[in-house]
């Protein structure tokens, strides 16, 4: 193999999302995209994810819509009932709240309520995250709301390669998937995936092996956890990082396997702490592993307040990598007590 072929190619998150959409549109005529500004005449989307796709596949398959989130998701639901695989883009996660009836009452439940007759294979792509000064209505992480609704699948990638593979899996999955992109890190790059890459839904990834404590999370904090794992290695602390990748259905098995080994767990997410995914993960760990835990399961999350604008307040709101480190150390200190 030539050196050029073996050199690691990199890809940004934005390119990864686009690659997944491009490949899906090319592979399957039932796939189509709809969302605000997504056509090339409108600039290929506010975040440029769909740039070039309407030119390549036509405006009928890459459809710019009015600013009508409920109608967008509803049109996706209806088209899915009729055998299509629509990918709806809702520009930001807070705007998904405008389409709640379609998601919660229809997309998630039509399969069950019809006795299995009508599935809803839609993907809703959306993005969010604090840190860019977009304040209370453009930054919320609301994944727990949707994970709470039976019938939905909720996916949050932490690397560009996973982003491509998970988005592809969402599009070709037969159930409604909510795919959550991080606003802040769209230009961040990582190793490029091979063509046709798919990452199975509902399967967590042990992205760093360790033996002393498990850090379990998804999305942005995974990068913090991986950096910590590297750094703490120098102190002889062995951190295992479990990237859930799919929030729901949750891969309980991989989580429990990891914590059964390390006997300590820190659960971390960007969403506010209370009633979050962390509470669910923590509960599942203690339900199954109570007797073998060497320390209480700790949560690291953002504050239970609206996302503020001022930088100093926004940073105060956000979970902190230092808090993950402190939590890791606290679980290890608990060792003395056992």
């Amino acid at each position: 193999m030539s050196p050029a072929a073996t050199a690691q190619k990199t890809i940004s998150f934005t390119d990864a999302y686009r690659l997944a959409l491009d490949e899906a549109l090319g592979a399957d005529p039932t796939v189509f995209l709809l969302g605000e500004d997504i056509g090339d005449e409108e600039g290929g989307g506010v975040f440029k994810v769909t740039k070039g796709l309407s030119t390549k596949y036509g405006k009928h398959r890459v459809r710019t819509t009015p600013i009508s989130e409920e109608a967008i998701v509803g049109a996706a639901v209806g088209a899915a009932l009729a055998g299509m695989r629509p990918v709806a883009e809702i520009m930001l996660m807070n705007f998904v709240t405008v389409a709640m009836d379609q998601i919660v009452n229809h997309a998630a439940k039509l399969r069950f309520m019809s006795g299995g007759q009508t599935g809803v294979p839609i993907t809703i792509r959306t993005r969010t995250g604090a840190g860019a000064g977009t304040a209370g209505q453009h930054s919320d992480m609301l994944e727990a709301w949707f994970a709470h609704v039976a019938g939905m699948k909720v996916v949050v990638p932490s690397t560009p390669a996973d982003a491509m593979g998970l988005l592809t899996s969402c599009i070709f999955d037969d159930d409604p998937c909510l795919f959550i992109e991080d606003s802040l890190t769209r230009a961040l790059t990582g190793p490029a995936p091979p063509p046709g890459h798919r990452v199975p839904l509902g399967r967590a990834n042990v992205s760093h092996e360790g033996s002393d404590v498990s850090v379990i999370g998804y999305g942005r904090p995974i990068r913090d956890a991986l950096a910590l794992a590297e750094r703490l290695k120098g102190e002889g602390i062995s951190v295992e990082v479990v990237d859930l990748r799919t929030v729901s259905p949750l891969d309980t098995e991989t989580v429990l396997k990891s914590v059964a080994k390390t006997r300590r767990a820190v659960v971390v997410h960007e969403a506010p702490r209370s009633f979050g995914v962390g509470a669910e993960v923590t509960a599942r760990i203690q339900e199954h592993l109570y007797d073998s835990l060497a320390a209480p399961v700790l949560r690291v999350a953002s504050r239970d307040v609206p996302v503020p604008f001022a930088k100093v307040l926004e940073q105060e709101y956000l979970y902190k990598p230092a808090a993950i480190e402190a939590a890791i150390r606290r679980t290890l200190d608990s060792k003395a007590r056992r």
Binding site: F32, E70, V77, N105, R111, G115
Partner: protein, 328 residues
Amino acid sequence: MSASAEWGPAALLAVYRKALLIQLVDERMRSLLVSGRLAAVYYSPRGQEIVSAGIAVHLKPSDYLVTTYRGIHDQLAKGMPLKLLCAEYYGKATGACKGKGGPMHITHPAAGIMVTTGVVGGGLPIANGLALAAQLKGEDRVTVCCFGDGASNIGAFHESLNMASLWKLPVIFLCQNNGYGECTRYDKSTTAAHIADRAAAYSMRGVRVDGNDPEAMWRAAGEAVERARKGEGPTLLEANTFRFMGHYFGDPGAYIPKDEYAAAQARDPMPACRAAVLRSGAASEADLTALEREINAELDQALAFATESAAPDVSEIDRDIYASGVAA
């Protein structure tokens, strides 16, 4: 479909046959509820029979229907098999939805009955999607979306009409204006004189019709369906009618002025339609009695099937949540 390409005695009889089926099934359901032999939420369509029948005769099984919790008339007119319907009302494993949806979520794709929603206005955005799929695939298939006057005040109505008009979707928005949104009279909730007027805001064709008049309903519905089939875009069709049994079954209806109710009763579409059929010569009194007997016999069988069927196995609770498997 193809009951008749032109209005006449045959078309009138085709409408009446469907309307009579609705009337008889509704009567039976109410009698079962009153006698305690059926325990289910029920939203009687009594009074709105001609609206459903008048459009359904123009539809093929492959055309799509989206309707609401008050949808039994729309479902029956569209070809809902009685056995599956009754078994679902009884919450049985043999029901249309295996007992998981119940009366408010009747689904039967084989007859094009794609969604029955319990959320006012929730069906309109979905109807657009069904119509969009047909448009993208180049299929000869229209979507009829039924809802009440109350739904025209919800945001989804306005978003959906705009999108349907923008994309020239093959969809008919059939607003069955029965004068009341739940228990609130039309003029206390709606500023527009007529629902059909709202179509103008979306550059859509808006038509108002007397939903109790079989000929007027048949013509207006036929035209809307034909336009959608030809790719000439959507129609907002407002069918004015009345709801005799209130919002929910058992609704005392005290909010309906007595004189209004009496006037509506005088305009009850079912006796009028029957008389018109007889006058037209399309059927005799004996023919209609035989038809009633036939429908009632089929209904007896369907109800026997429903009551004798088994309840769903408890394990069903874990099925159909996802395409395969159950949430972890």
